[in-house]
C-alpha cells in the first residue's frame, strides 16, 4: 500500500487522530502529523472528531480568575501583534523583499523552462487517453451541522468533453428528495490555501449548470464544497451543506 493510501486507511487514521488529540505524540511525530493533515482529508476529519469529543472537557473544567485589567492588557498585546502584520514594511525589509522577489523569478524561470520541455515531450510522445465520460470530481453533501454527516445529495463535476463545456450536476438522495432546496449557492474551498471562491448559484430549472474554465479550475483545486442559502460568504448561519471533494480522475488543464 502506498504511503498516501496507508494514511487514508480508517483504522490508521483513527489511531493517529486519537494519539494526536490525546497529546501522546513526540514533537517530531506531531509535526509530521500536522503535515499529513493538510494532504489527507480523512485524517483531518478523524482528528476533528476526536478534538470535538475531548474539547467538551475543557468547556466544563473550572475557569481560573481573570482580572479584567489582565484580560484587557493581553488583548492589547494581541491587537498590537496582529496589527503589526498589516503595517507597511520598512525600507530594509523592502530591500530584502526585492532580492527575495528576484530569487523567486529566477526559480520561476527555471521551472518554466523545465515545464516547457516536459510539455514538448508529452505532446510528441505521450499517447492520448480515451475520452472521459464519468465525473472527475464528486462531493457528498450533508447538512453543515449534522454530526452524522448523512449524505443528502451529491454534486458531480464533469470536465469539458467533445465540445460541451464542463458542468456541475446535482443528484439528491431519494430519502431527501422531498426536502430539496430549490435555490442555493456553491462555494469551493481551495485545498492549498483554504480560500473560499464563489462557484455560482444553481439554475432555477434543471440540475446541471455549465462552468467557465476559471470556475472549473476552482472546483478542480478544491478540498471541499459548501452550499449557502445566499450569495454571501459562508458563515455558520448561512451555510446549509458541506462536503469533501473527491478527485476521481486526474485533472487536465485542457478540459473546459
Amino acid at each position: 500500500m502506498s504511503r498516501c493510501l496507508r494514511y487514508r486507511n480508517a483504522v490508521i487514521c483513527d489511531h493517529i487522530a486519537a494519539q494526536y488529540v490525546a497529546g501522546a505524540m513526540s514533537p517530531r511525530v506531531r509535526s509530521r502529523t500536522q503535515t499529513l493533515i493538510k494532504t489527507t482529508p480523512e485524517l483531518d476529519r478523524a482528528i476533528a472528531r476526536y478534538a470535538d469529543d475531548f474539547s467538551v472537557i475543557h468547556q466544563r473544567l473550572p475557569e481560573p480568575t481573570f482580572e479584567s485589567s489582565r484580560h484587557n492588557a493581553i488583548w492589547d498585546s494581541i491587537d498590537k501583534a496582529t496589527a503589526d502584520q498589516t503595517t507597511a514594511i520598512s525600507p530594509k525589509e523592502s530591500s530584502a523583499g526585492f532580492w527575495d522577489a528576484l530569487l523567486v523569478w529566477k526559480v520561476t524561470t527555471g521551472m518554466g523552462a523545465l515545464a516547457s520541455l516536459v510539455l514538448a515531450f508529452m505532446l510528441f510522445v505521450a499517447v492520448p487517453e480515451p475520452t472521459q465520460i464519468g465525473p472527475s470530481y464528486l462531493a457528498n453533501m450533508s447538512a453543515h451541522n449534522d454530526p452524522q454527516n448523512t449524505i443528502q445529495f451529491v454534486i458531480s463535476a464533469y470536465g469539458a468533453n467533445q465540445g460541451n463545456p464542463s458542468r456541475l450536476h446535482v443528484q439528491w438522495s431519494q430519502e431527501f428528495a422531498d426536502k430539496k432546496v430549490p435555490d442555493f449557492h456553491v462555494w469551493a474551498e481551495d485545498k492549498d490555501t483554504g480560500e473560499l471562491s464563489y462557484i455560482g448559484s444553481k439554475p432555477p430549472k434543471g440540475t446541471n449548470w455549465d462552468m467557465t474554465k476559471p470556475i472549473w479550475k476552482k472546483v478542480a483545486n478544491s478540498s471541499r464544497l459548501l452550499v449557502t442559502a445566499d450569495d454571501q460568504r459562508p458563515t455558520a448561519q448561512n451555510t446549509l451543506f458541506s462536503g469533501i471533494c473527491l478527485q476521481l480522475k486526474s485533472w487536465k488543464p485542457k478540459q473546459a
Binding site: 488529540v21 497529546g23 476533528a48 478534538a51 467538551v56 468547556q59 466544563r60 496582529t82 471541499r224 458563515t235
Partner: protein, 183 residues
Amino acid sequence: MTDNNWSTEVDALLYQIQSQDKLALKKLYDLTAQKLLGLIIRIVNDRHEAEDILQEVFVKIWQQSNHYSGSGSAWGWVCVMSRNSAIDRLRRLKNRAHESTDEAPELLNQLLEDISHEDSFTQNHWIGRCLETLKPQPRQAIVLSYVNGYSHGELSEKMAVPLGTVKAWIRRGLQELKQCLVA
C-alpha cells in the same frame, strides 16, 4: 447560553476571522480566553507563561484561521492549537520539571459526572459516559495526558508503572473510547 449556542457562536466567529475580521477576533477572545487560560495553566502551571501562551494562541488563530477546514467544531480546533502551544512551551523550558496543576481526582470525577448526566444527547456529551466505562487507571492516564499534558514517560514516573504499561493503557483506553463513541 447553552453549550450548543456557545459552540455555534465560536464557529461563526472563526469563519469571520477567516475574512480578517478583527472585531470577530476580539469577540472570540472575550468568549473563550478564560477557558483557554484554564486549559493552558493546567499544562504549564505558571500564570505568567500561560498568559504569554494565550496571547501567542490568539495571534496564531489570526494568522492560521484559514487552516481551519470546518471538519469539526472551531472550539475543538482552538483547543488542539492551545494544547500544542502549551506543550511546545513546556518542552522549550527543558530545565524545568513538569509540574502541572494536577487537580484533585474528585474534581475530575465531578467533571465526568457532570458531563455524563447531561440532559442533552448531543454527541459531545457522550465522552463523559464513555470515559466512565474505562477502567480507572487507563482513564486516569488518558485524562492526565489530555488535561495536564503529561507525556508517556512522565505518566510512567507519576503512576509508578513501566512505560510499556502506560502506552498500553492509553492505546487500549483510546480504542475502547472510540468503540463507545461510535456505538
